[in-house]
Structure formats: structure tokens, C-alpha cells
Symmetry: C2
Subunit: 270 residues, 2 copies
């Protein structure tokens, strides 16, 4: 075991990324990653605080959690932090009316939001909804505004489904940023405010918390910038080249969530 296990001693909470850590997504909702169901159980049985922080925007929080429960995970809606509810709260604070370019299944999260005569654009991982036609529609709203406002639910490059790598919302965020010469406001990982919301809910200081994810930049790097420790699992979108990334170095690399939980429970001082 490498040096990161030293810093496990004082850990009081763990934040888990979901896709690529708990399960691989794909047709039919995806499949659990070996050992992850049991690993979550063991964390819950410990006195560590546990939260889930995801950039998942292809479903409402309720449907998403229900899917994970069907896979065998014991997770409550209140423990899960996705971007959509966070965006809704920003929209309401700032009196903004969004044009949505999102997955059909996440639209209900925006039910209570006025979408008439839009004065901003919200994009999420819209998958097949990222058609040329829909991209043009979002672009026309933005370019028609005196000061274009674009919210992106995450800035990921790609993720892994059972049938291969797929482009994530960050790619289309960059596309619209370039088209309109604007910088998007990211709601989701790696935005510090997003991680902070989770820490607040846990009532813990950053140095007391480990973030575990498969995305080196958005999970690990984002958490580190908030003062947390970041572990990368070698599942999901992990690629060997991540371990020689020019700017982000994880505090530790582990084969999968089960191995991470083994090490944490073994080395922490209760």
C-alpha cells in the first residue's frame, strides 16, 4: 500500500462518484462493478459519513437512485448530490428562465421552473439529444441574448458505457462556448461550490474527507482543489495514462472501490 493510507487515519467521511465506481452504465441501466455493492454496505456499517456526488444528468434523482437500488445498492435519495437540483436553485436565485438541452428523463427536475421566453441555456449529458438541430436551437437562444448565459451540468469529456466510450456534456459545453464566445458556468464536479454543498451536508472539514472517483480531473482534481484527498479507481473511464497526467496526481490509485474500502477500513483510527 502506498503513502495515502497514512492519511486515512483521520478520515471521517467518504464521498463516492457513482458511474464508473459503483457501476458501468449501458443498455438496461448498467451493471454493478464487482465488489462495489458489498463495499458500499461496509462503508454504511462503519461510522464514516457517506455521500454520493455525481454529474449524472440522464434521470431525476429519484429514478437514478431507484436504478441503483435495483442493482443491489443501498442508497437513499437524500445521500445523492447531482447537478440538476443545484442548477434549479441557481436559476431561481437569479430569476433565470432556461432553454434546456438535456436528456428527456431529467426534464422533470425542472418542472417548477419558468421556461418561457428563455434568457439562458442549461445543458446536461443529453446523449442522443445532442443533435445538430438541438445544438442549433440552443445556439440561437444564446446568440440572441445581449449577454449569453450558459450553464453546464459538469464539464466531463467522456464516460464509459458497456458498449464503449461516449462523449460527455463538457464537449458540447466547449462547442457552445466557442460558438458564442462565452464561458459556461459549470454546476457539478469539479466546481468547488458543488463539492462544498456536499461537505456542508456532512458537517465535515475537507481534510477529513476522501473523494473516490474514476475521473482524474473532475473527481480527484476537483476534490483536491477543495482540500480533500482524492483516490482514483482503476475502473470506469480510468486509463493507464491517467497515472502520468501532467497536472493532476491522485493521492492514491486503487484497483476498484472494494480495494479502496478495504484499505480505508483497515488503516483508519476509529
Amino acid at each position: 500500500m502506498s503513502a495515502w493510507t497514512e492519511s486515512v487515519r483521520s478520515v471521517k467521511g467518504v464521498i463516492l462518484d457513482m458511474c464508473g465506481v459503483l457501476y458501468d452504465s449501458g443498455e438496461g441501466g448498467g451493471v454493478p462493478i464487482e465488489g462495489s455493492v458489498e463495499a458500499v454496505k461496509r462503508l454504511k456499517a462503519s461510522d464514516l459519513q457517506l455521500r454520493f456526488c455525481t454529474n449524472e444528468t440522464q434521470a431525476t434523482r429519484e429514478k437514478f437512485v431507484a436504478k441503483l437500488c435495483r442493482m443491489g445498492f443501498e442508497i437513499n435519495v437524500s445521500e445523492v448530490f447531482p447537478p440538476a437540483p443545484a442548477v434549479v436553485s441557481v436559476l431561481k436565485q437569479r430569476n433565470l428562465r432556461p432553454h434546456l438541452l438535456v436528456h428527456d428523463d431529467v426534464v422533470p427536475e425542472f418542472d417548477g421552473v419558468d421556461k418561457s421566453n428563455p434568457n439562458c441555456v442549461v445543458i446536461g449529458d443529453a446523449a442522443d439529444n445532442f443533435s445538430y438541430e438541438n445544438m442549433n436551437a440552443a445556439f440561437r437562444v444564446l446568440i440572441g441574448l445581449e449577454k449569453p448565459v450558459l450553464f453546464s451540468m459538469g464539464r466531463g469529456r467522456y464516460y464509459k458505457e458497456t458498449d464503449g466510450l461516449k462523449l460527455d456534456v463538457g464537449v458540447y459545453m466547449k462547442a457552445l462556448e466557442y460558438a458564442c464566445d462565452v464561458e459556461a458556468e459549470v454546476v457539478g464536479k469539479p466546481a468547488p461550490m458543488f463539492f462544498q454543498t456536499v461537505l456542508n451536508d456532512m458537517g465535515l472539514q475537507p481534510h477529513e474527507v476522501f473523494m473516490i472517483g474514476d475521473d482524474l480531473v473532475n473527481d480527484v482534481g476537483g476534490a483536491q482543489q477543495c482540500g480533500m484527498k482524492g483516490l482514483q479507481v482503476r475502473t470506469g473511464k480510468y486509463r493507464p495514462s491517467d497515472e502520468r497526467h501532467p497536472t493532476v496526481t491522485a493521492d492514491g490509485y486503487v484497483d476498484n472501490l472494494a480495494a479502496a474500502v478495504d484499505a480505508i477500513l483497515k488503516h483508519r483510527c476509529p
Copy 2:
């Protein structure tokens, strides 16, 4: 008339952008911009050299010129410089086998090119072919290469069709650049090499040539970086804010091509 007419005295050649200067594109191929057919005729009747430089990648050069002829323009294939033939020549020089993400109608330009087991990606203004599925396919080719090579036929942000503004290839170039952490090689305006090919064909020095376009950055700015003068027409994708652009200032702004040709033919010293 503003100061640019002074520099017209020594002009020996004119390069015209096409879409937004000669015609507005749209359903059925588009419509000529008022006065442009006559303006091209007048340039041809003068002793000025005339070439057409376009980032058009939605048709073969032959079909594209045929469309313009149907609109009434007298243009020969040999006078028109689009990106696709230029890319084909680069691919052959470097023994590259492309995966194409382009408009169906430009595919025949790549007939003589080996596309098996691709080791690079070429994108053009693919319009509706910019689906999520096709973007993923191009992405997977790139991310599977040890050193991804991406060619983009132009880097425009958007263009105007009769039914509104549409996203151009540059937007999807930025998307794939971000996805794969790679910088695209641009073939087309504003790449200096692309303009230089046209100048070579004319046998003229840059300071002897005026470029006229509706795209401030790609037509006007690109030409200026090569040492030419650049005029922006207030047609096509022109927006009033172009006249206070932070980095590019045209040598002159004219209402349309007809007005530009009037001024050039009036002020030049034959």
C-alpha cells in the same frame, strides 16, 4: 468613402468569399445577394485577377460551382478553392487514412483516398451528420490513436442560411479537440497556407490583393495576416458588433459586394 479606397490604387487581384457574399444559402441551394451576379461580371470584365476562396464543404467543387451557375454566376471550377481538395493532398503527402465526418455530398472528393483502418479524422461542415452517434464514432477513432490527428476544414463558428444561423465546423472541431486534448490542423480559411495557395495561383503578392468576405475573423483577419487587405461586407453573417471587434479590424466595411466592386473599379489606377 473611407481610407481603404486609397489602397485600392495598386490592387491587381480580388479574392471573394462565396456564401454570404455572393449568395445566402438555404433550402433549394440559396439565393443570390442583390447585385452580386452583376458585380462578379464587372470584375471579370476588368483586368483584375479573380479567385473564389471558400470553406464550403457540403458539396464537391463541381456540384458547388454548378449550383452557383444556376443562380446566374459565371464561375469556373478552376477559379474556386475549397478545403476538401487541399485536405486530400495533405492526406496523400503524409500517408494518412481518414475517418470522415463530413457532409454526404462532399464524400466523392475523397474517392481516391484509402479510408481503411483510419489513422486520422477529417471533419467538415457535416450539418445534420453532426449527430451524437457520428461524433462518438469520430471520437473513438481519435482516442484510440496513440497520437490523435484531427483535420478541420475551416474553423468557422456559424453561418447564415435563409432560415437562420447554423453552427459551423469550428464548433465541432472545438468539441473534439476538448474531448481528446488535441489541437486540430485547420485546412481552409483562416489558415495562411490555404490563402497562399490561392495567391500562388494568381501569381500575385499579398499587398496586391483584396479579400472580400462576410466573416470578420476567417476572411478578413485571415487575409490580413497574410499581408492582404480585407474588406467586410454587411451581408451574410455580418453583425454590427463586428465593427467593434476586439482584435480584428477590417480595412473597410461595405454594404455588399456590389458596393465593394463599385469602389474598387472607381478608385483603382488601371
